[in-house]
């Protein structure tokens, strides 16, 4: 099954994103509370979309992002970095690590929904 991976060390945020995206476009929602587990889960589920918190213990979002890019199953995944701290330097580093998008907390739940929806192949996105 196609899957979306949500990574955040705050269990509340994890649950909140999962609730928002549950059952929206037929994706399985996988979750991980830290970077190390994120990589393990990613190996099992090959997510197409990853919501990745930046500030996490053990392995931070940058490192996870780089490793996901090195792994063939997730090399082409859409990676969305979530962070409390905005700023050009942080954004540049996220981009260098291979992130596709950068969202500052509080992020918009509608934006998350749209990302999942687009990937799920709405008629417009699927083309003809």
């Amino acid at each position: 099954m196609r899957s979306v991976l949500i990574v955040d060390d705050d269990p509340f945020i994890l649950k909140l994103i999962a609730t928002t995206l549950e059952d929206v476009a037929g994706f399985e929602l996988a979750q991980a509370p830290d970077g190390i587990q994120a990589l393990e889960v990613a190996k099992l589920t090959s997510p197409e979309l990853v919501f990745l918190d930046l500030d996490m213990p053990r392995l931070d979002g940058f490192a996870v992002c780089r490793r996901l890019r090195e792994e063939p199953r997730t090399a082409d995944a859409t990676i969305v970095m979530l962070t409390a701290a905005a700023g050009d330097a942080v954004e540049r580093e996220a981009e260098e690590a291979g992130a596709d998008l950068f969202l500052t907390k509080p992020f918009s739940p509608l934006e998350l929904l749209r990302l999942v929806d687009e990937l799920g192949g709405s008629p417009a996105a699927a083309g003809h």
Partner: protein, 251 residues
């Protein structure tokens, strides 16, 4: 005695602290549940809205199909012409401007290009001989008539431009407005190439369809006069296989 009171006091203090902590935790859980409820309602609203948008899109497509069928029902041999032209057109548009190909109005315009022919009398539409001058003048009004039919429909406003300009020529010698070069909308420039491609490669009662290679050569020969050279280049870059698939498929 005083010590006992001290211990009792500490115990009470601890007790009330615990109670306070419990209350705070309960409050936090309540807020969390409330926020989760917001999230799930938002998700359900999003899904409902998406379903409505899909319904609307399906209705648009059905409406365009109905209009297209109204034109083709009168002209047996054109049959799947609009369908094929739309497929060729989208194939070509994707290679020239992928974003444009995603705009559903482009496909609608391709499908509806001849909708103005509903106003052309059977005697002229089906005439086997060459048209008289007055008949030809009437025939040449079909792009404007078609444009008048669809331009008032908001979801077809851009498609109407293709309908109006699908007989313009790159060198300005076309109709109805005699537009030249890039003044002709890109989708209309693409359309006129694939319209010719389909006309050449389709079997007619009086002649078999030309092979694709021959059609390509003839179209190449009209680059810069009838057709936008860049569009012809893009057609040349498409391998035979996807074009043959469109040509030979049944409706």
């Amino acid at each position: 005695m005083g010590e006992t009171v001290g211990v009792e006091g500490k115990r009470e203090e601890l007790h009330s602290l615990r109670a306070e902590l419990r209350d705070q935790r309960r409050e936090a859980e309540e807020k969390e549940r409330q926020l989760q409820r917001y999230a799930s309602d938002l998700r359900d609203t999003f899904k409902a809205e998406r379903a409505q948008a899909e319904d609307l899109r399906a209705n648009y497509v059905a409406t365009v199909r109905a209009l297209t069928n109204a034109v083709e029902a009168r002209d047996a041999y054109t049959g799947a012409h609009a369908d094929r032209v739309a497929s060729y057109g989208l194939e070509l548009t994707r290679r020239i401007d992928p974003k444009l190909a995603h705009n559903p109005q482009v496909e609608f315009g391709f499908l509806l290009h001849d909708v103005g022919k509903v106003a052309i009398p059977d005697g002229i539409l089906h005439k086997a001989d060459d048209l008289r001058e007055d008949e030809q003048a009437l025939m040449r009004r079909h792009p404007v008539i078609g444009w008048e039919i669809v331009r008032g429909i908001e979801f077809l406003a851009e498609a109407a431009q293709i309908v109006r300009h699908h007989h313009e020529r790159w060198d300005g010698g076309g109709y109805p407005d005699g537009l030249a070069g890039e003044a002709i909308p890109l989708a209309a420039r693409i359309f006129s190439v694939v319209d010719t491609l389909d006309a050449m490669t389709t079997d007619r009662p009086y002649r078999p369809g030309a092979p694709l290679a021959q059609a390509r050569t003839e179209i190449r020969g009209m680059a810069g006069t009838q057709f936008d050279p860049a569009v012809v280049d893009a057609l040349d870059a498409i391998p035979d296989e996807p074009l043959e698939r469109i040509r030979t498929r049944s409706r």
